[in-house]
Structures are given as structure tokens and as C-alpha cells.
Symmetry: C2
DNA sequence: CGCCCGCATACTGTATGCTAAATCCGACGA
DNA sequence: TCGTCGGATTTAGCATACAGTATGCGGGCG
């Protein structure tokens, strides 16, 4: 056949690998540096510096900084510059409160909308987390934990809720990481019970378990924060 | 004293009346145009056009558009341009769900942290709303309604919560306005009961009332949306 | 007559130059 | 010694210029 030209149709979802706008790459890069601690809280970020560091012009850096400001990762002082946001204990506490609220509701909805496949995916992530826990592979534990929560919020079917919960959770994780690496096995036992409740479609139980789960995290935060 | 030149000192909280960055003005201007409907959903926003319209260069416009994208007021198509976001019924529904969640929690916390002055302020706003209702002054009714909710979320003492609730509420109002101007007297009766619960410090009651109140709004939305 | 290719156009993406303002530091005076 | 003033420097804010790419249209071929 001629296969004249027509629609490549890139079978799978995405077209042909569009070049991601530079500002997004820059945004990710800076955020990464903030989360890993390479850029410490309070640090003065200079556009020109970042631009040179990343090998781009100031323009994309500016736009990335605007995004970061919107997400509260940096504070922008007009006329001066950007500073990595310094979380206050009060703010961390409020954030934890909001997270509890959002995640509990997510769990409730997830229980109502749970599917076989969804639950299977949850269990798989759970296994990954537990295995990493046994192997003392902290990084994987943390990432599995994050993914599990993401999956649950996604399963809620409410995109707005999922988006908010995701943002809040990411900030919480950043605040939380330095004080408490993880609560270990107990946390994963709670996960197991939670998944069970979702699988059974018991919305109230799921919400309650998630609420308790995130509250435990909050308590562990408050304990450690007393240093 | 000499008052040689120095600081005008703009008495109240903020420093000295800093000249607001242009991008913020532009942001407000565009948002205003979106909310009032001057820029209809789906409309293609051209940077150059907006820049000329507002008498500034493309740069501040770009930054304002990035902010608007973050707040989901516009959709940004890489390589093409910005479009005023078109709300889907599904999205509106999810947004209403999240709003209920956030506002109910705000009311609960507000009840726990209520002060004499705060309650007095609420009552004042309430009076303003009721008076405007009688006078058929729709604009004032709407603004009083918005202010009342804002005051309650502020009273919760949780800034994060307040910020999220504010954003969500503004979008809800935009979606909602075209279909249902207001629910009238009944809505304000509910407000009265809610303020009462907050004044008494009855957190559970306040949360329940707020939940019912916002759910009523949701129902009225769904009814009208069937056109 | 319909489809497809190729070109012209318009817009965004990115880079850079210029201006105004905020900060910092040193010197002067009380 | 401390407070204050003034200048130098740094930095963001804003404007403009250039390049890459998506889009839409018109002409030509089947």
C-alpha cells in the first residue's frame, strides 16, 4: 500500500512527543531543588543566577517563579527577589488539618467508586511499600506512600479534590520529611485496613480510617517538631 | 519635624502604599472581564490584543495569564494561546462538592474560634444582605453573601483553608451566577441560623448547617442546569 | 468536483536591553 | 558610640526584538 502520509495516529495516547515548554522544565527543576533541600528555605533566589545555572534566559525562569509563588513554594518580594518559602509551625499545622479533611473525603468517595482494578492497583502499591519497608529502602517507601495516597484521591473521581489534595500533600511531605522520615510498619497496617474498607465500599469506615491515619501523621509531626 | 521627603506611612497595616506590580493589575483586570462575561468562555485571548487593550506590553500580560492558568480561569494551549476556561457540568458538580467540604469545615472551626467582635461583624453583614434583599438590590445581596462566607472562613483561623475556600467559592459563583441569581430569603434564614450556631460555639451544628446550606445551593444549581 | 500539498500569516516561546527601585554599606555628624 | 544620610550596587520590572511553530487558505493535481 501507499501509506501516503496520513495520520500517524500514534496509537497510544500522546501524539509525537511534544517538546515541553521550557518554563515547565524550569519549574520542575527548581521545585526539585527546593524539595531535595538543595535550595534551603529562606534562600535568596536570583533570576539571573537560576537562568545561568539552567542554561536558559531569564524569561522562562520568571514564569516558573510566578508558578512557584502561586503554589506557595517561594515568596516574591517586589523589587528584590524570590525566596524559598519558610514554613512556620502554625502554617504546617493548618496544612495538616486541611490535608486530613481532603484525604478523608477522598477516601470516602473512593470507597463509593471503587473498582476491582483500582483496588488491585492499590494492593500492588501496598505490597511495594511493605517490601521496601522490610528492605529499609526509605526512598521507595516514601514514594509508595505518596503513590498510594495519589491513587486513592484519583479513585475518588473528583478531579478538583484530587488536585487540591495533591498540592497540599506535596507541601506537607516537604515540611514533614525533615522531622519524621516515616512512621514505619504501623502506618502500613493502617493502609491495609484502609484499602480493605475501600474494597468493601464502606465509605464511612474508609473516611474514618483515613482521618485517623493522617491524624497520626500529624501527631508524629507535632512530637518531633518540639525540637 | 522636618518630614523631608520620607515615608507617607500609610497608617494601617501595610508599609507605605507600595505601587502594585503591573501584572497584578492586569490579572485583576482580565479576571474581572472573565467574571463579568465580557470575555466569554472558550474565547481566544491574544496576548497582543490584551496588551494593547490595557496599554501595557506583552510581558505583564503573559505573567497574568500564567496566574490565571494556575487558578483554572484560562486554559493554555502551548504554541497557540490562552482560552477562557469552559466549565463542564461535571466540573461544576465536583467544585460544588469540594466547596461544601471546605465551607463546612470552616464553619466548624469558626464556631470553635468565634469572638464577640467576629460575630458582631457577621451580624452586620447579615443585616446588610437582608436589607438589600428587601430592596431587590441584587448586586449588594450577592456581595454580602460572598462577604459573609469570606468572614466565616477567615474566622476559622486556618489561612490555608480560607484561601482554598475563597478560590473555590469564586469559581463556583462564576459558574453559578448565570443559572441561578440567588435563592432569596430562604438562603438568608439559613445564614441566620448558622451565625447563631457559631455565636453559641456549637461546632457540629455550625458544620451541619453550612453543609446543608451549600448543598441547597448545589441542588438549585442542578435544577437550573437542566436547561 | 474533491482532496491534498505548500505557502503566507499570526501567534506564542524565548532572548535581551533598558529603566526604576530596593538594598546594602560606608561616611559623616550628633 | 549610635543614628542618619547618601551613594554605589544589585535586582526585578517592563519593553522590545527575534525565531519557531501552529493555523488557515488558496491553488493545483487526481
Amino acid at each position: 500500500m501507499s501509506l501516503p502520509s496520513n495520520v500517524p495516529q500514534a496509537a497510544s495516547g500522546r501524539q509525537v512527543a511534544r517538546p515541553v515548554p521550557l518554563r515547565e522544565t524550569v519549574y520542575d527543576a527548581i521545585l526539585e531543588m527546593i524539595i531535595t533541600g538543595e535550595l534551603a528555605p529562606g534562600r535568596h533566589l536570583v533570576e539571573k543566577e537560576l537562568a545561568e545555572m539552567l542554561g536558559v534566559s531569564r524569561q522562562p525562569v520568571r514564569e516558573a517563579l510566578q508558578w512557584l509563588k502561586k503554589d506557595e513554594w517561594v515568596d516574591l518580594r517586589p523589587g528584590y527577589g524570590a525566596f524559598v518559602h519558610s514554613p512556620t509551625p502554625e502554617e504546617a499545622d493548618q496544612l495538616l488539618g486541611v490535608r486530613t479533611l481532603l484525604e478523608a473525603e477522598s477516601a470516602r468517595l473512593a470507597a463509593l467508586h471503587s473498582t476491582k482494578e483500582g483496588v488491585a492497583a492499590l494492593k500492588q502499591t501496598y505490597k511495594r511499600g511493605v517490601a521496601a519497608l522490610k528492605a529499609d529502602d526509605i526512598d521507595t517507601v516514601v514514594s509508595a506512600n505518596a503513590e498510594l495516597h495519589t491513587q486513592i484521591t484519583a479513585m475518588s473521581g473528583n478531579k478538583i479534590l484530587g488536585e487540591l489534595a495533591g498540592q497540599v500533600a506535596r507541601r506537607v511531605r516537604w515540611y514533614h520529611t525533615p522531622v519524621a522520615k516515616s512512621r514505619g510498619k504501623k502506618s502500613w497496617d493502617e493502609h491495609a485496613a484502609l484499602i480493605d474498607a475501600i474494597a468493601k465500599g464502606d465509605a464511612d469506615l474508609a473516611a474514618r480510617l483515613m482521618r485517623e491515619h493522617t491524624e497520626h501523621t500529624r501527631e508524629s509531626y507535632l512530637e518531633r517538631a518540639e525540637d
